[in-house]
Symmetry: C2
Subunit: 143 residues, 2 copies
DNA sequence: CTTTGACCTGTGAGTAGCTCACAGGTTTTA
DNA sequence: TAAAACCTGTGAGCTACTCACAGGTCAAAG
């Protein structure tokens, strides 16, 4: 399979295939005639796997790790379960944060119904936002 | 105020202050003696405003726009309301997406209870993920 | 047989919003 | 007076792609 073919097979952009190849997730051989990359069915499996894992929130380094373990015939599944659970917790945190944000946004929107537009006067930029009550805990950077 | 001072006043990294200054959100004057940036109370207001707006999901270009309009004594508030409502819709979409994801993750986790770890055999990398049923619609890249 | 268009190649830059590193100048403190 | 702590601008790094570029290759049409 050439780049475009495997890309279509997995429903991704050919550039993504090239990118994953650069990143070592895919290891095609070369056609000695023309130096084209040659992907096989195994690569397609890996690519599809990688895409699914991405949807689940795995990072490329994590996916590469899983793939490498699979290559060595070590089962990566326990590790997958592990990362997966962490990821689930993260997702739940994100949801909670977004819900909080949404609540405060809708509250703000209805509060704003009664606020004048208020042309800025040197003390105020936009009351709508300045009177937003923050207390948003953390932007939730990983870690 | 010097960089570190205004940064502490707004609870941000001094580098963020420098970055916002580069980006034109903050417009300090210069101390002619030492060429240090000099921020005033107005800058602090702008910085705090910018941070609140960031928490609400406004992009830096949007914030710059608002700030510029405020400078020109045009009321940015109607624009703010507009972007804000769009942002709210976006947040709700994100929540829905994440909830879907979470549901499928918890479902998968419980299904995995019964699945063997399955050392990779050349056909399979990790059943846990390979048997994940995708149908995740879109990663929801903005327009 | 040649041209045209579609593909292939690798590399480098762009995206957003910071954060950090670097090298050198200034100010404060001990 | 010397060290520590700050300041300066610039440039790179982070994620996971995506796109642009310049040049090589190949299949089919004329």
């Amino acid at each position: 399979m050439k780049v475009k073919e495997i890309a279509m097979g997995a429903g991704v952009n050919p550039d993504t295939v090239r990118f994953y190849t650069r990143e070592g997730l895919l290891k095609p051989t070369r056609n000695p005639d023309n130096n084209y990359q040659q992907y096989d069915a195994e690569d397609l499996r890996r690519l599809r796997f990688a895409r699914k894992a991405r949807q689940l929130g795995f990072s490329l380094p994590e996916i590469r790790q899983i793939l490498e373990q699979a290559e060595d015939h070590h089962s990566p599944c326990p590790m997958v379960r592990d990362v997966f659970q962490q990821r689930l917790a993260e997702v739940e945190r994100e949801i909670a944060e977004l819900q909080q944000l949404r609540n405060r946004m809708t509250a703000a929107l209805s509060a704003w119904q009664e606020m004048p537009d208020g042309t800025p006067d040197g003390h105020t930029i936009c009351q709508l936002i300045e009177h937003w009550d923050e207390a948003v805990p953390e932007t939730g950077n990983k870690e």
